[in-house]
């Protein structure tokens, strides 16, 4: 999982030629073997097949790089959909906790020698999401990375620069100094416990109804033409947990919105998913992020976060579970790096 830093080097020696060189005691054998090795590393760098795999915005730019205008096929780079046939995985997008283990799995399924490019700020460091509960701060917490390409998203030229850089690394046969997680482990700290803010009153507006009226209210509205469900969400006010509903009548071009106030200790109310089918997912989201329990919901599971997640992140008192994810204080990390560089 994402929290376990990768210390072991993943790459196997190519073809095991080094061992062969020791066995053959013929003059010139080593020259022959080094030149063979050179040929094979040339072949490796000339035929990098990446996995068809994209996560977010950077993937769109990656697709554009594969498309006619930039055409990565010129480098001999063609995509393969199966990890078994891929040499390269381009992590293009934000790596979340839920996705991290899949990425690890995909990486393991690839045959060695294999390469990783982290493209874009999200893959490099988690970008502005790096303090967020569900985001892995950099894909190198999950798999070892060979080349980092900056950009948000990197332009196609930057992608191609990344490929060229990787080709250089392959042909120089340099062992890449993978990101050393252990070095900055000391500065990784628990997420600061956010001090509970002073409870300030926030004035409330809108139509409030009681939880008991909810289903009848919703079905009345539906019967009177408000048959389009816009959204359901919740707000964690300092004193209550409010659920907001909005429906719409397309014929009348009108919106109706109402709120239900709930108690923090036991936020439960009936589900309206039998009236509006779309409420199913919205209610699951409200449960996932706010912990609002919908009593007769047909599928009361989390929707966005992994099933075994604890806590409801959009509550104001949510403290991040640092056993899952490192918290990355940028400044401290920077200082640690500086010191590392000074030491050499």
């Amino acid at each position: 999982m994402g929290t376990q830093p990768i210390d072991e080097d993943k790459k196997k020696p190519r073809l095991g030629l080094e061992e062969l060189g020791d066995l053959i005691r013929v003059p010139g054998a080593n020259i022959f073997l080094t030149s063979t090795k050179k040929i094979f590393s040339w072949a490796e760098k000339s035929s990098l097949w990446p996995l068809t795999f994209g996560l977010a915005c950077c993937a769109i730019e990656m697709m554009a790089t594969f498309a006619s205008r930039f055409d990565l096929d010129r480098f001999g780079v063609i995509t393969r959909a199966s990890p078994r046939q891929a040499d390269l995985i381009i992590i293009a997008g934000t790596v979340t906790v839920k996705m991290a283990e899949r990425i690890r799995k995909l990486y393991v399924q690839m045959p060695s020698p294999k390469w990783v490019i982290a493209a874009g700020s999200c893959a490099i460091s988690g970008d502005h999401y790096r303090h967020i509960y569900s985001v892995v701060p950099g894909v190198d917490w999950v798999i070892p990375v060979d080349v980092y390409v900056a950009g948000c998203p990197p332009t196609p030229e930057a992608f191609m620069d990344g490929i060229i850089k990787l080709q250089e690394i392959i042909s120089s046969e340099a062992t890449n100094p993978h990101f050393n997680v252990a070095a900055i482990k000391s500065v990784i700290q628990d997420a600061p416990n956010e001090k509970p803010k002073k409870k300030q009153e926030i004035p409330k507006t809108g139509d409030y109804i009681s939880p008991d009226e909810l289903t009848s209210h919703a079905s009345d509205l539906k019967d009177s033409g408000f048959d389009y469900l816009t959204y359901i969400t919740a707000v964690d006010y300092p004193d209550t947990l409010d659920v907001i509903y909005e429906v719409r009548s397309i014929e009348k071009n009108e919106d109706r919105s109402w709120k239900v106030s709930l108690d923090h200790s036991n936020p439960a109310l009936p589900s309206i998913s039998s009236i509006f089918k779309g409420a199913n997912w919205h209610e699951r989201e409200a449960y996932d992020l706010f912990g609002v329990k919908f009593t007769d919901h047909p599928d009361p599971r989390r929707i966005l976060l992994p099933e075994d997640w604890s806590g409801h992140p959009l509550r104001k008192d949510y403290a991040m579970d640092t056993s899952r994810l490192p918290y990355r204080p940028v400044r401290k990390e920077y200082e640690a790096w500086k010191e590392m560089l000074k030491k050499g």
């Binding site: 205008r69 980092y148 390409v149 030229e157 930057a158 191609m160």
Partner: protein, 169 residues
């Protein structure tokens, strides 16, 4: 809404789709052969890297360490430390962590002295992610590497200045 396609139109359609691909066979490819040739980079380019500028006449740094960019950065990647001497502020340290930059150009926009600019050149890919931490020296060197993009703080702020007098009567 198309009706049921007749047999003749069906054959027409097949031939037409073959024709469309065939036509492209003799067109010049749209590909820009990147390492060999480069597509023009527009003036307003902001997908590149950063630089700290110096005054052309005096050779002094433009940055006065006002920390506005540090405050506005949504990604929280800029660290500025202020020191004051010879009658103005200076940036003792200026760190820009390109690892988490989202290239929104807000730092450029708020800069009161045109000190930080984006460049019309890409950040090179690195094998070591620490190399993406640009400190003050690197940022000053960058200025010589590429030319600056169109946007600069004062220019953008002037663009956003509400017009003093109404143009139309």
């Amino acid at each position: 809404m198309p009706k049921k396609v007749s047999k003749i139109r069906l054959i027409q359609a097949i031939i037409f789709s073959l024709w469309v691909t065939f036509k492209n066979l003799f067109r010049k490819p749209v590909t820009v052969q990147y390492p060999l040739e480069k597509r023009p980079i527009p003036d307003r380019w902001r997908a590149g890297t950063f630089a700290l500028t110096t005054d052309k006449e005096t050779g002094d740094e433009n940055c006065i360490g006002c920390k506005l960019c540090e405050r506005i950065c949504p990604s929280d990647i800029i660290i500025v430390e202020l020191e004051k001497h010879s009658g103005r502020g200076w940036a003792k340290t200026f760190i820009l962590d390109l690892q988490a930059c989202i290239q929104c150009e807000l730092c450029v926009q708020v800069c009161p002295t045109d000190a930080i600019v984006m460049l019309r050149g890409l950040a090179t890919p690195v094998a070591n992610r620490q190399d993406y931490i640009l400190d003050k020296e690197k940022l000053m060197e960058n200025e010589k590497l590429f030319e600056a993009a169109w946007a600069a703080g004062l220019k953008l702020q002037k663009l956003h200045e509400p017009k003093q007098t109404e143009v139309k009567s």
